[in-house]
Point group: C2
Chain length 208, copies 2
């Protein structure tokens, strides 16, 4: 039996387009027989290296206005609940990301990621506080407090820092991003289908 190819899914909890990918990647990857490697990371340091002090959607208001409209349209088109903006954007995603780094290879990672994004962009809730995240984990039948505690311990915190270095060294500049085993980089929710196709060897004519 041939080995299933793996696609790395790099996502940022504060990112609206990461939300659109996170909600559907597990189903699409399953249908394509591709394994997902969940790669939570923080865009802040990546943006800072580009000279940005906030989300480009805040720095460039015209772009930001159309982003919210576009994500609302895309959410509707993909059958997701009506988009609800959290009060603050971008949300501080540090605590949520540490938990995802801690659980990246656990069977609950997909459910956790979708629960966080659903709270943030379908219900418009804040996701910054560990207490809120612990409650989401409890709702999934997990030990919220213990997971939150493990996520804030030093080995996990330094793992997140190295992931940030890895993101920059592998050429990432935004989220979501998809990386195939042969190093092909796809950026943006609009490329999810093409990244999966590439992962299984289905490439546009003439492309290697």
């Amino acid at each position: 039996m041939p080995r299933r190819p793996t696609l790395e899914f790099w996502f940022e909890f504060a990112s609206t387009y990461s939300y659109l990918s996170a909600m559907r990647i597990e189903a699409l990857a399953g249908a394509a027989d591709v394994a997902i490697r969940w790669r939570p990371f923080l865009l802040g340091p990546v943006f800072a290296a580009q000279g940005w002090t906030s989300s480009p959607f805040n720095l460039y208001p015209a772009k930001g206005r159309n982003m919210w409209r576009d994500v609302a349209r895309e959410a509707a088109r993909l059958g997701l609940p009506p988009l609800t903006r959290p009060d603050a954007f971008p949300q501080n995603s540090l605590a949520a990301t540490r938990i995802a780094v801690h659980g990246a290879d656990e069977p609950w990672i997909g459910d956790y990621v979708r629960a966080v994004y659903t709270a943030e962009f379908a219900r418009g809730q804040a996701i910054a506080e560990p207490g809120a995240l612990s409650a989401l984990l409890n709702d999934l039948g997990l030990e919220g407090p213990a997971i939150v505690r493990a996520a804030t311990q030093e080995p996990n915190k330094s793992r997140l820092r190295s992931i940030g270095e890895e993101a920059k060294s592998r050429g990432l500049y935004g989220a979501p991003s998809f990386l195939t085993e042969d190093g092909e980089l796809f950026w943006g929710n609009d490329r999810l289908e093409q990244a999966l196709a590439w992962a299984v060897g289905d490439r546009p004519a003439g492309m290697r």
Copy 2:
């Protein structure tokens, strides 16, 4: 007979993603029974208003590297010739844009736009010089020198300046962009199909 809806196609000759849309919009709009209004414009002043002195693909190298790879993949996927980068990017598109403003409502506009983009991104040629553009017009059976002359006269030059103001006042921040009659703005080649669908009243559930 119901009136055909119109979709405005805002494009910049230096823009790679505008190229991907320009090569296919006439066929897709024809199939959807949508009329195209060709809206050539210059991104330079729009970018300058955002504090950018060049293309973001030059200002942010990681983003630029992946853009070239992505456009090559997309060109292949769309059945266009292999992408060939012109020596300088972005190309100075002023002369080409003035001609397109002059001819925006002429029957030859689509052929002209595709001829310029094909020279630039399929053959990797420079498009800055009026002489090269005049030759492209001649190849289409038009009076190249006369059109180039008309395009550089004052009424046309000031028309291009007002178009730049219009772009900013209508919320444009990049190219290609698509505007429907009811003012819905779609940004990027990836939204061409959705812009056409919106133009004919086919909208995601719950969106108005």
